[in-house]
């Protein structure tokens, strides 16, 4: 085991444990805080893949902005575990069933799309996660999807303002 492998396993264990804690925590605020830790672990993986830019953007956008909004909503609505109505057994069963089938589907898809056997992840090398190659790729090869998604964001923003004004 070299340093990279040790870091990889430590980060993975950290991510999985935090993700389980998101689900297990009774208090929604605790869930959000564990979710922030998951994002940190994922950023750690990005850094192992030499994608520093992706890592830091992941922290700024997800852990820094979106999770703050999550916290905001939960704090304002004052969601507590004890006054939350308990779901029926049937609903729980259906939830487990649909979640399980989604997981199976995803695993099957990943197994089908690429030949994973004997492949190794490139660690500490590659440049696609750095700012120059990423910017070049976004504004040359992927410029149309990029612009379309920015229009999507703009329309969402306008919609939010209109709903807020009502």
């Amino acid at each position: 085991m070299n340093t990279l492998e040790i870091l990889f396993y430590a980060l993975s264990a950290f991510a999985v444990v935090s993700a389980i804690m998101v689900l297990v925590s009774k208090n929604p605020i605790h869930s959000v805080l564990w979710l922030i830790l998951v994002f940190f672990a994922i950023s750690g993986h990005y850094i192992l893949l030499n994608a520093q830019f992706l890592a830091i953007v992941n922290i700024i956008v997800y852990a820094g902005a979106i999770m703050v909004l999550f916290l905001f909503v939960i704090m304002l609505m004052n969601v507590k575990s004890d006054n939350e109505p308990q779901k029926k057994l049937l609903v729980k069963f259906i939830g487990v069933l649909s979640g399980g089938s989604l997981l199976t589907l995803l695993i099957a898809l990943v197994k089908q799309t690429v030949q994973l056997e004997g492949k190794q992840v490139l660690m500490k090398e590659g440049t696609i996660g750095l700012i120059h190659p990423l910017g070049k790729a976004l504004f040359s090869d992927y410029v149309v999807p990029f612009e379309i998604s920015s229009v999507l964001f703009l329309s969402a923003m306008v919609g939010a303002v209109i709903i807020g004004k009502k």
């Binding site: 852990a63 902005a65 703050v68 916290l71």
Partner: protein, 347 residues
Amino acid sequence: MTILALDWGFIIEKLIMIAIVVFASLGIALYTTFGERKVAAILQDRPGPSRAGPFGLLQPLADGLKLIMKEEIIPSQANKWLFILGPGLAMTASLMTCAVIPWGSALDVFGRHVELQIADVNIGILYVFAVVSMGVYGIMIGGWASNNKFSLMSALRAASQAISYELAMGLALIALLMTTGSLSLKTIVEQQVQGHWWNVVYQPLGFLIFFITAMAECNRTPFDLPEAENELNFGYHQEYSSMKLGFYLFAEYINMIMSSAIMASMYFGGYDLPFFNEASVAPNIAAMIGVGTLLIKIVLFIFLFMWIRWTIPRFRYDQLMGLGWKTLIPLALFNMLLTGAVILAKL
């Protein structure tokens, strides 16, 4: 065992540097509280703290001792772990910024070439940004865990203020990054050392926006809405006592030092002493002069922060949001377009 094949000298060097930078920032923050009280006193035409030691110089130590000796109180209805986590997070987030600030060029110590920067990462500025956005959690978690509606209100205010002003700050930064072409703080400073002018000459409007947003991010008056005593009793740290309260107050001063250091590095040449040829003296002496120059710039910025605090009254909350969204963001966008047009014309 490949795991032990590390450059131990490198690790020890970095650990020593981290210790020096952290303790130096804590020490400066301690005396910034003293400076704040003296500046306030001068602006209000009174002597200020003058009893403890010569010129009152031992006052911060007395303040610190008083904070430590106070009783630790955790409210019975508070969420205990998060209540303790809050101030810790606030302090950690404000100290983490110092990792990417270039404090000087390089020293030669016992044949080792020591860069006076903890980590020269290629995403330096964005790292600062990420840490700033983490800082808001300390306030939010502390305010919520106190189980006090004034604390919660204040925490929500702090969070919405931080998010709103982060946008304008980011847009002001983009214009600067367009001229420098690099995200690394070391590269940005070196460009200014080598070039003719500091970045503030190319980006005056960008600097102004950055300065205002930095003031808002540090929760300094006129943007200290989260601590508006007359509306919120005391703010998000109302239920805190002893050193946990001290951590919150201290984190604010460290934030001020760090944002001064960032502004000095990005817009005012960092460790560059103007009209002085670094090559004319020994490299080690030049590096020490650079560190001193940066510290002087930081002190000047901190003084500016204090001067504004004791001169301008606090905004109203809607004025604060209006300034952020309706004035600073359009201005920053305009600045960005202008910079882009100039760069395009120069090509």
